[in-house]
Each structure stands twice: as C-alpha cells, then as structure tokens.
C-alpha cells in the first residue's frame, strides 16, 4: 500500500484553476521530488496535503486513511527555515514532537550531534549560518512523529556550495533514518541527485505531466552529476519541462 496517495486532486482560487486532476502516490520510504515551474501550484499542493486548505475535488490519503483537511498528519519544512527565534536549537528541533505530545530529548540530542550541531544546542537561531538553520529545520521534521516529510524548496535560498553540501548531508541523514519524503524544487539537478522518482507538473493548471524513475544506486556520490547517464536524464527532464512553457 502506498504511503501517500493523491487521487484526482483539483483546486481553484477565485475561479482560476491551479491544480487539475493531480494524481500520484508515494511508496513507503521513497524519496519523490516534484518539479514544476514557478507559480504552478506546488506550495498549494502542500497546503492541501497538510490540511490547511481543502481541495475542491479529489482524495488525499495517508496509509489508507483519508486526510482531506486534516492537520497534523504530515511533517512539514517550509521554504525558509522558520525556526522560532526565542527557542534554542534544541528546543526548536523538539517543537514538532512537542506539538504532537511525543517529546524525545535523548533522540534529539543524538540527532543534533550527528548533524554537527552539538555545540549549538543552546544557541539561538540567529547565531547559526543559513545552512545550519536549514539542517536544524530538517532535524525538526525528522523528529516529528509523522511518517511523511514534505519539504518545500528547502535549499533554494542557499548558495551553490552550501546547497550541494546540504543535499549530500540530507541524503546521508535520510539513509540512516528512512522516511517517505516529498520534495519540492525548481532545480533539475537537485531533483535528479536526491530522488527515487521525479514528478513533473505542468503549468496552469498544474497536472502530472510525466514521471521519471531515477535508477542511480545509493549511496550516491557527488560525482554522479558529471556522468553521461545523469546528463541524459537531465536533458530528458529539461525537455519535458520546457515543452510545457513553450506550449
């Protein structure tokens, strides 16, 4: 049974259709990326899955249970780290678990240590660099009890170096603590490097246009982005995306 199943989801704002019959699914422990042009409705899709807005039509189910409009069923990481400035890093990463009423202090401490944030445990977010803040935000989602993590362009605000560092870090952490991940990005390379599967959304209204299975073996090394196979995939995805905006 798939972890998350989205079935013919539609959503309009003020008569303007943003999502139209979006259908896809995520298997347990699968890493799926969603690629789509800016403004195509990716964040809207997350808001629907997260239950803070209701779809006009369609079904969202998690582990076979319908979660339309039900909050608290996924773990979410917004585009900005959105760490709470008055909480220390340790208190911040515990927030998701705290809301669900399942705080596990030793696990949080261990996780921070693994992420190289041990010495920042009692620091406040503004004392951390952008990359470190993103790491803390991701650990916060990992420590939340929900089985599916949704990340909305988590690395788009980072510079190129930090970004590729963060991608590798994310993969290494994820290999150890497997979860289902739904990852939104603008960046084709990022999607190829990270995902098991890529879903491409069309523009206005958004619809699933194509799906690519990405077969690179794990653990993945940075060097694969230079291989012939990677470039072939990149071209194929690029063409698929471009065909849309050209139309």
């Amino acid at each position: 049974m798939p972890e998350l199943a989205i079935d013919r989801l539609s959503k309009s704002f003020d008569g303007k259709m943003v999502l139209k019959d979006v259908t896809f699914h995520i298997e347990p422990d699968e890493f799926v990326s969603i690629l789509g042009p800016s403004g195509s409705g990716k964040s809207t899709l997350f808001h629907l899955i997260g239950g803070i807005s209701q779809p006009d039509e369609g079904e969202i189910s998690l582990d076979g249970e319908r979660i339309n409009g039900k909050k608290g069923s996924i773990s979410y990481m917004p585009q900005s780290p959105a760490l709470f400035p008055w909480r220390t890093i340790l208190q911040n990463v515990l927030l998701g678990a705290e809301i669900a009423g399942k705080k596990d202090l030793p696990a949080a401490v261990a996780m921070l240590e693994k992420a190289g944030l041990k010495e920042y445990e009692s620091a406040y977010p503004h004392q951390l660099s952008g990359g470190m803040q993103q790491r803390a935000a991701f650990i916060r989602s990992l420590l939340s009890p929900q089985p599916l993590i949704c990340l909305d362009e988590p690395f788009s605000a980072l510079d190129e170096f930090t970004r590729s560092e963060m991608q590798q870090w994310l993969l290494s952490i994820w290999m150890e603590h497997r979860r289902s991940i739904l990852f939104i990005t603008h960046n084709i390379e990022e999607a190829l490097f990270l995902s098991d599967r890529i879903i491409i959304l069309s523009d206005k209204p958004a619809n699933v246009k194509a799906e690519f299975d990405i077969p690179f073996p794990r653990p993945r090394d940075e060097s694969i982005v230079l291989t012939e196979e990677f470039l072939t995939y990149k071209k194929a995805v690029y063409n698929e995306l471009k065909a849309d905006s050209g139309a």
Partner: protein, 257 residues
C-alpha cells in the same frame, strides 16, 4: 558601562549646558526665586527638604507601582481576549481608541464623584493611562507572527492554544515590552494627576501645596522627583527586558554604537 558613557554624553552635555545657562541668566537678570529659582538652589532644596517629601515620595511610588501592575495586567488580559475572540476585537477595538480620547482632567473629577477620595479612583486613572499602550502593543505582536512559522504550526496540527502559547505569545514579547516602557512612564504621570484630585500624601499633593504657597523651588523639586521616578521605572523595564529577551539579535545595537 563604557557604552552607556559613549551613548549618553550628548544628552548629558546638553542638560548641563541648559543648567549653566539657566543658572547664569537667573543671576544676571536677578530673577526672584518665587518666579524661577536657579538650579543650584533646587539642588540644595532636594537634599534639605528630604524629610518633608520622603513620605510623599514613598506614597507616590506605591501608588504608581500598584497602578502600573493593575493597568498592565488589565492591558495584557484585554489584548489576549480580543486576540482570541476576533468578534470581540472588532467590537471593542474602536471603543478602546475612543476611551483614550476622553481627557483625564475631565474624567478625574467624575471618578471622584463616583468613587470618593479613596484609592479606587486613583487606580482607575492610572489603569486607564497604562492599559492602552500595552494592549495595542500586545495585539500587534500577536498578529504579526511570520506566515512561515504560522504555516508550520498549523501543518504540524497545533491547536489554537498551542499556537498561542508557543508562537504568538513569545513572538509578542518584544512588542509588549515597548508597551510596558510607555506605560511605566505614564504610570508616574497618572499617579501625580490622580493625587491632585485630593489625597493626603504624594508628590502631587506636595506639588500643589508648594505651588499654592509660591514655594517655587519645591515645585521644581517635585518635577525633578517625577522625572527621576519615570526614569527609574523605565530603567527597571529595560532591565527586565534584557533579562527576559535574550534571543534577540544584538546586531542592531552594535551598529548604532
């Protein structure tokens, strides 16, 4: 300490200059003391009449602290209620602004008619001047939480209560403290005004007695006391703020220095 000195030398030197000009001109022009006493004489009077005003001072301090505490708790409570019940907010917010347009000088005698000369009308006056800045500041703080943080809380399934205590309340703290600072200085003014209405003790009483008998020097002593009290109250709130809000970026301060 050094920072205080670096930041403070400008206003302090202006004050000193003012006193010097005042002192010199009151000597040159031979201004009578009952009209405008020179600062040196006020300074002497401050020490000389300490036994006369110490009990007045204590009474004003008690009154303003009590009024401040009541006013600020009322202000916070009102803000929380209005924030959590949007309908209430829509209804009462305009009325609250109207309440600030009633001149205290007009309201005060009415309060005496209704509540007598006791403590009640005085506390009501101080509460009236204190609660408003706190309520407005807190309401703004509650509302202006970042949308990303709010999305996070909602997605995580946080209840209204959790959103309030974990996000809105801490987020409003810096803004609440700005309100508290304003309220702190207002509370002293409010206390003095309420004492004018009729009280046995207090700086307000001391001031009225002094001015009605043309002891102008003592009026200036009273003004000095009011200013020092306001500054002390303000300083106490700033101190509390520094203790309680450690998470704020310090970058801004460094840039200003």
């Amino acid at each position: 300490m050094r920072r205080i000195f670096l930041k403070g030398w400008r206003p302090v030197s202006v004050l000193i200059l003012l006193f010097v000009v005042w002192e010199i001109s009151s000597r040159i022009f031979d201004i009578p003391v009952w009209l405008l006493p020179p600062p040196s004489q006020v300074w002497v009077e401050i020490f000389a009449s300490w036994p006369n005003y110490s009990s007045h001072l204590a009474s004003t301090v008690r009154l303003s602290v009590a009024g401040f505490l009541i006013g600020c708790s009322t202000g916070l409570a009102v803000a929380v209620c209005l924030h959590l019940v949007p309908k209430l907010r829509e209804t009462l917010y305009p009325l609250m602004i109207l309440s600030q347009n009633i001149p205290i000088i007009v309201l005060a005698p009415l309060l005496v008619i209704w509540f007598g000369f006791g403590l009640a009308p005085k506390l009501i006056i101080i509460t009236l001047v204190c609660f408003f800045p706190v309520t407005i500041a807190a309401l703004d703080g509650f509302r202006q939480t970042g949308s990303d943080m709010m999305h996070y809380m909602k997605m995580a399934g946080a209840t209204t209560q959790q959103i309030f205590w974990k996000l809105e309340w801490p987020h409003a703290m810096p803004s609440v403290f700005s309100g508290l600072k304003i309220a702190a200085t207002y509370s002293v003014m409010g206390a003095v005004i309420s004492e004018w209405l009729g009280a046995k003790e207090g700086i307000g009483v001391y001031m009225t007695l002094a001015s009605s008998s043309f002891r102008t020097t003592q009026v200036f002593v009273a003004i000095f006391l009011i200013m020092v009290l306001s500054l002390l109250f303000f300083g106490a709130i700033v101190f509390l703020e520094k203790r309680m809000i450690r998470w704020k970026e310090t970058g801004e301060e460094e840039r200003n220095a």
